[in-house]
Point group: C2
Chain length 381, copies 2
């Protein structure tokens, strides 16, 4: 039995004010292509299909289109849950109909824990839910954290789970833990948001969503697929992929990654303005990528964002990287000097920072006149 | 072939700040009961399933539940379109899957005009669309009004429509017109929002949504079903119903109404406060109805809304009905008097309006002191 594990599509996501929908469409079309090639028995999407409870309409249309291609056109069963970014109720609409064509979508958690059976594998679906909701559904007042909630839910599943069959849990949670070998201890669960990986012991494989890196947890059988795309610059160095799992009838499996390649990558670029605007440099660059640019220049720069966007149209974020050690030294040096500069001297410094032109005597004369006039007016008040 | 025609459910509607969802649930459960009794071959819902593009989640859950009961549990085909209150894109999500079980939902208008065929009847679905959208879809620059748009769309349908078969158009529009006899002329279409009823001539029956009264148009073959419930006090006197149509194989049909009865009706009540609060009166009333109350009392009343709500918990709107002729007379009489009243005289009048107690000399003395103090302070400024 082969299935693909993906999660965190976040359709309708805005990154630094730019909608990712076109990028998402492109990568999802690649995804459909991978499904066509791999011909899996199921596609598992572990939550956060949308980025928010009321996504923009083009995200709604995109999801509809992609899921239809996978489920109906490629005749591939889909197993999916709501994540914390989805509206459980809105996502659930129509799910009773989808089952007809083996599209299993669980938006809201309920108190039935029957797995979806596909080609001999049992999929247990645990959509994201707040601990208070789980407390109410299970009528169990001892539930206070996400860890408690998951533990109680898995306890319910274990009542009927057959450990000799391949069992897969599909969940959306912040799972901490590592290799469950004897030499290592499970991280103690501090925040109520975290769930210990050891809870998933009864399952052959746990297909997680929530954390965006496929390396977020180092565990043999509990895994994140990672998000569809890079959704923040903190993810710029992560490899984005989907997971292909081939599982035998006792739940042992082979796991491999396949990557999807967006036309526009998201990455960071660092350098001096002149250097970045030099054709010798940028002609070797993928200039249409989504970029965070850190400028190393000191002193003032005139309108750097527009200059950069002429070369790199998708600069999403621009920052200056200024050596604060150096600045502090200068400041303290200036402070030590103790001498107060005249207005014309201050302006001259400013002029040199802002332009590369010479501050000629003519210019100095004009400015001196202006300053004199202003000072006179101030004195008159 | 028997079908039920309904429209304008407006799930998630707020009326005077009160959500109608519970009332809607109750009436829709009756509707499901009617479907079970009548066993129609189809249920037609002519738009405005929701009241707004992003309805509250309990409205989403209600629609899902009711449509599932009708379509899957009662195995009844559903034919439905988006109205101007629905979001075409959001409503469309999943519609490709619904077709599997003969739930035909058209949210967005497209340029394919093939009817849905159910038991020998052809249903042509025309979801609400702005004229500009139709102009673009048909690539026809002559479309400027809703009338133009509907005319062009029907023109497209006529290219393949077989007039010897029973053809039903399902639309959501503001249709004007009357009996299409020779002695009457079609109302000239003034506003671009209106569509002439004569356009629907090619159809055996036109199932409309948009106007909330089943009597909105007086036409043999072009009909509104009216809304599910009364949604404003201007509808208080309308009869709400659904239409049952039994059509033969050449498109001739019998039409009858069935009414649905909400526990809480919406109606207007008029009277003097004392009268409305008299058990002899209200014990004969359905006090839990949604009410607009018009009070006929003159003069000030103390907190009438809370007094009324103790008897009539669902007062949504309270107004005073004051004979303006009388008031004008009084005002002009006062104006003619020309005498300026003292502060204490003005207060005495106010006191008598607000209470039924006597304005004793003690009270007068206290008030006089206050007035004197205030006047003194004003003088000091």
């Amino acid at each position: 039995m082969k299935f693909i594990h993906t999660a965190d599509w976040h359709l309708g996501k805005l990154v630094h004010g730019v909608y990712m929908t076109e990028n998402q469409r492109e990568v999802l079309e690649q995804f459909v292509q991978v499904v066509a090639e791999e011909q899996p028995d199921a596609v598992v999407i572990a939550g956060d299909l949308y980025d928010r409870s009321v996504p923009p309409t083009d995200a709604v249309e995109l999801l509809d289109e992609i899921l239809f291609k996978i489920n109906v056109e490629l005749n591939t069963p889909i197993v999916s849950i709501a994540g914390n970014h989805d509206s459980a109720e809105r996502l659930s609409f129509g799910s009773s109909w989808y089952k007809h064509s083996q599209f299993y979508l669980t938006g809201k958690l309920t108190n039935t824990f029957n797995p979806i059976q596909i080609n001999g594998v049992n999929f247990y679906l645990v959509p994201y839910a707040e601990p208070g909701v789980v407390r109410q559904i299970l009528d169990d007042d001892s539930i206070h954290s996400h860890h408690d909630a998951m533990k109680a839910l898995i306890g319910k599943m274990e009542e009927t789970l057959n450990p000799n069959e391949p069992n897969v849990l599909v969940g959306h949670a912040f799972v901490l833990g590592g290799k469950t070998s004897d030499s290592e201890r499970i991280l103690s669960v501090g925040g109520s948001g975290c769930v210990g990986a050891e809870l998933f012991e009864p399952f052959s494989y746990t297909a997680l969503g929530h954390l965006h890196s496929p390396d977020a947890i180092n565990h043999q059988r509990v895994k994140y697929s990672g998000s569809l795309l890079k959704y923040s610059f903190s993810e710029a160095k992560q490899n984005k992929s989907i997971s292909i799992i081939e599982m035998d009838d006792i739940g042992q499996f082979k796991h491999r990654y396949r990557s999807l390649t967006p036309t526009h990558d998201m990455r960071e670029l660092e350098g001096h303005l002149d250097e970045l605007l030099d054709p010798g440099f940028y002609e070797k660059q993928r200039v249409h990528d989504y970029l965070k640019i850190s400028l190393l220049d000191e002193g003032a720069l005139i309108d750097p964002i527009n200059k950069l966007r002429q070369v790199y149209p998708n600069v999403l974020h621009l920052e200056r990287k200024i050596d604060m050690t150096d600045m502090k030294k200068k400041q303290s040096y200036n402070a030590m000097q103790g001498d107060k500069k005249t207005e014309i001297e201050l302006f001259e410094e400013f002029y040199h920072e802002m332009t590369s032109a010479e501050f000629t005597d003519d210019k100095k004369a004009v400015m001196a006149e202006v300053i004199e006039k202003v000072l006179k007016e101030e004195g008159a008040k």
